[in-house]
Symmetry: C2
Subunit: 556 residues, 2 copies
């Protein structure tokens, strides 16, 4: 029996100081419960990296304790890391019916579906994992079938909200379990993990129904084809598009792989109702009257390979956007995507389309799935936690969440603003932020996990800005004497002819080598270093560029 | 006498379908007048490129006709291309006193000041250039001393607005010449070139005075040091910071090279008044009571090397941001800069600072310098042009500008939505968009202009994402037979050891070479092509990466 026997530990492996790769863990005695396993998309500084997932080395080290992965909902930042995680640790995955549908799509792609253990839960499920029992409550968000949960432990009750907003008139009529939340609060919440995305925004999040009203109005007004782009996973919004199309007697075509796949999962599992005969194939679009067709497609974030981007440049085979068509962005740009979106808007205007777009909810065609300040305060008021860990947010969001909590009665020192890997230990119902475990980013680059690190990324950065010079020298194996003239090859450096510069570089290389020989300092690595230094200085003085310099010695 | 003798031609070499590198030209008979010569900053797809300037090959071809470069104001997107342009075509530059001050800073850096011909003008100046006379009118913007102009030509009057808003209570008390504009309009405007930046925004641009009120309030409330970041060139805002500091009896320190330089120009030329003894040096900050100091610095756009970014990470020698300090972003993020700004906001909150920030004018600390829809309509109403060319904007802005013009009486077909290089020819006072001249982007990469093109950029992109493999083969010069085993070097490809993969690549290379030899197909280039193909396929199958493959043959 070790000394940590009765301590309850809580930490994040992802999701703190970032939007993305959410992964939280509750550890008690011999049991670890994981909540979510998401991914994050790299910014432009991570050249060539495809995905970022949490570094879960701690869980691998403690693999005998890991009992379950519970998933709150099916967004990428909550499920995108699952295939990689299951390849390492094949633990049972608990999720709702719709969420499991999306996880299955992923596992199929990774050819992992067969060996994975997927267990369907709903808001009435009751799990017992070692000394922890878990119960659930429904929350509203921007994807169906979302859960929050209470984990009852010998140290007290821990609540994890999942991603949430309070939508009193949700488009899918699936209401939050507000009464259940109040009961949990009344029973007593020792610690609340609550999401922080919109902690900077005053007021309440608008209802999804608002989007439906604007969609209906736009459908009424449109005279020719309608093209609507939104997140495939926002099934409530897709349902509202279906309703609008139905009212105006339009057929609906789906474009984009994820739209087709996710809509199929949603229809198959009963989360989306589409009237018989409404869906048409893309190749049928051109055969119909423009005023009788609507197209629902991916690409609302300006993704270059998605359907909308290709439509906007005329590169979608068989479907054209023509003058007088109406294009609706039924999703605001996520921060960072603004420029890609507006460049598509430009193309669409140039095609003569009427374009309905805008940031946030300004066009009426988007509402956030994350609660604003009043939603967050309502959650705190329902739960009345002793301790709070704001999760799911960048630093300023966590910081604002703490201030909101203080305004509704959570003492400031009882809110823990943590980083990934920081651990809160609870003993005798007292929580303390004490220690730190390893946590960080794991890069998925190409097909593989963890094959790229800072070293290669630094090289890629230099190559991307200044290119490289390879300087090839053939020399005698015995004494290092030059056999043939140096030769310089470049890639990504200068475009125009640089014969003069190349001659100079070869001359400088030769001079450097000869000087070292005269001083009797022949040593492969020392010589390479000197060549690099001399050529780097010269190249910079002539071009203000700092190419990577790779001396290649052939010894014969 | 050629046939184009009496035709007036108008075109842009930059500024259309973009925000940046403004350069417009008016050509009549043997005279060309240039208006502005700006630069633009590259997006992340232009790896390693430092700046983009207009391609002015047409002007070089017609250099004997180019009489003058008239500059409307001193922002980078209007003056940043001047040093490069003057190196090619040394024409006289006409600009106001403050604008000239900023141009001189640039020319000094490029060591061009001495040979340049700079001519100071003001709103009462009268220029005669060939058969064209030019008069000016003052406009409000976000930098001092801005001009619009009317060019009187034998074909009619052409008006160029410069960048403008209508601020009836400008902070510097320099009012727009609205009456003069009305007179010009009454005299008759054949064609108006008017800026379009905010053509999508309804209403009027708020007055710069609003920022002053918010600054005063924030200074009243602040208990410790105040750090304010804004554009150095926004001298009205700098002046308002000076006033706020004066009222609260705080000293002011300037951080950041462009802040120091531009403030010096503004003070020297009488555009900024700072009480004696108010300015202190950075090293004096720590010696003073925090409640007696304010710091004005660069970096409001999140620029990584600017003062504010360095302050936020504790990397500014001698100056620290401490808990309780107030940091004010007195400039909203330009689209595309949001992420860099919020990451600095995060750092500042983590230091315990109070941070006042927000997009656009939501924090009250920023107003746009570009007129909103009502400002644009007022300009159109004052000028009542027969023809309109919306300038200075991306496509959707030009498009909205056309709709605004239609709403105040400019016929839709009389608005020309053009691209850079499109020419409007006017003959007998009838304007037609007819022909196209060369126009495009010229990249400044390193110290040099035009040394990088699509080819090198494509290489850099591949290198940046997938790195490269160099495969070195030593062979007999006579028959191409292999002398020593192939050797593979990589850069930017994989991090972890890939000894196995490297062995496979060497084996595949050898196999490819031997097969070609057996088939008697030795030919350097053919062999390199086959090696690239075989190795590329294999590397992709193993790693899902597509490194650049460079076979290097050493023939002895």
């Amino acid at each position: 029996m070790n000394t940590r026997e009765n301590i309850l530990s809580i930490f994040a492996l992802g999701g703190l100081h970032e939007i993305g790769k959410n992964m939280y863990a509750i550890e008690y005695s011999n049991d670890i419960v994981i909540i979510d396993c998401g991914n994050k998309f790299p910014d432009e500084s991570l050249l060539g990296v495809d995905l970022i997932i949490p570094d879960y080395a701690y869980l691998v080290e403690n693999k005998d304790k890991v009992r379950a992965l519970i998933v709150t909902h099916g967004h990428e930042d909550h499920i995108g890391g699952i295939p990689f995680f299951l390849k390492t640790l094949n633990v049972p995955v608990y999720a709702t019916r719709f969420t499991l549908g999306l996880i299955e799509l992923k596992l199929k792609e990774h050819k992992l579906l067969r060996e994975s253990e997927l267990i369907e839960i709903n808001s009435n499920s009751n799990l017992t994992i070692g000394e922890i029992t878990v119960n659930f409550f429904k929350v509203n968000h921007s994807i169906p079938d979302c859960l929050g949960m209470v984990l009852r432990t010998p140290q007290g009750n821990i609540v994890h909200t999942g991603d949430f907003k309070f939508d009193l008139t949700p488009a899918n009529n699936e209401h939050s379990d507000i009464q259940k939340m109040a009961e949990i609060g009344k029973e007593g919440v020792l610690l609340l993990l609550s999401e922080s995305t919109n902690a900077e925004r005053p007021g309440w999040t608008p209802s999804e129904q608002m989007v439906g009203e604007h969609l209906d109005a736009a459908f009424m007004k449109a005279e020719r084809k309608i093209i609507i782009s939104t997140f495939a996973s926002n099934i409530s919004r897709v349902q509202q598009v279906v309703h609008a199309a139905q009212k105006m007697n339009r057929k609906l075509a789906l474009l984009g792989r994820s739209m087709v796949n996710v809509v199929a999962v949603a229809m198959d599992r009963g989360y989306l109702t589409v009237p018989d005969g409404m869906l048409i194939e893309p190749h049928e679009i051109n055969k119909m009257d423009p005023e009788k067709v609507a197209i629902l497609c991916t690409g609302s974030q300006g993704e270059q390979m998605a359907a909308l981007a290709r439509l906007s440049t005329g590169d979608f085979r068989g479907v054209d956007i023509l003058s007088g068509d109406t294009v609706i962005f039924a999703a605001g740009p996520i921060p960072g995507n603004e420029k890609n979106v507006t460049s598509i808007v430009d193309n669409l205007f140039a095609l003569g389309a009427k374009v309905i777009y805008g940031s946030g909810s300004s066009s009426g065609m988007h509402v956030s799935g994350h609660g604003y300040q009043e939603d967050i305060k309502l959650m705190l008021t329902l739960m009345k936690p002793t301790y709070l860990i704001p999760i799911h947010g960048e630093y300023r969001m966590l910081h604002h969440h703490r201030m909101l909590a203080e305004s509704v009665g959570v003492e400031q020192e009882n809110t823990f603003i943590m980083s990934n890997g920081d651990v809160v230990d609870i003993e005798d119902s007292i929580a303390r932020q004490t220690r730190k475990i390893d946590a960080g980013n794991t890069y998925v680059d190409g097909g593989d996990v963890g094959n790229v690190g800072e070293f290669v990324l630094r090289d890629r950065k230099q190559l991307s800005e200044d290119g490289m010079l390879m300087i090839i020298l053939t020399m005698n194996k015995a004494d290092g004497k030059i056999i043939s003239e140096p030769e310089t090859i470049s890639r990504g450096f200068l475009d125009r002819d640089f014969a003069e510069l190349r001659k100079d570089i070869n001359r400088i290389t030769l001079k450097t080598v000869n000087e070292l020989h005269e001083a009797n300092k022949y040593n492969r690595n020392g010589m390479k270093k000197q060549i690099k230094k001399a050529v780097r200085q010269y190249a910079y003085s002539q071009t203000k560029k700092k190419p990577m310099i790779v001396p290649i010695f052939i010894e014969i």
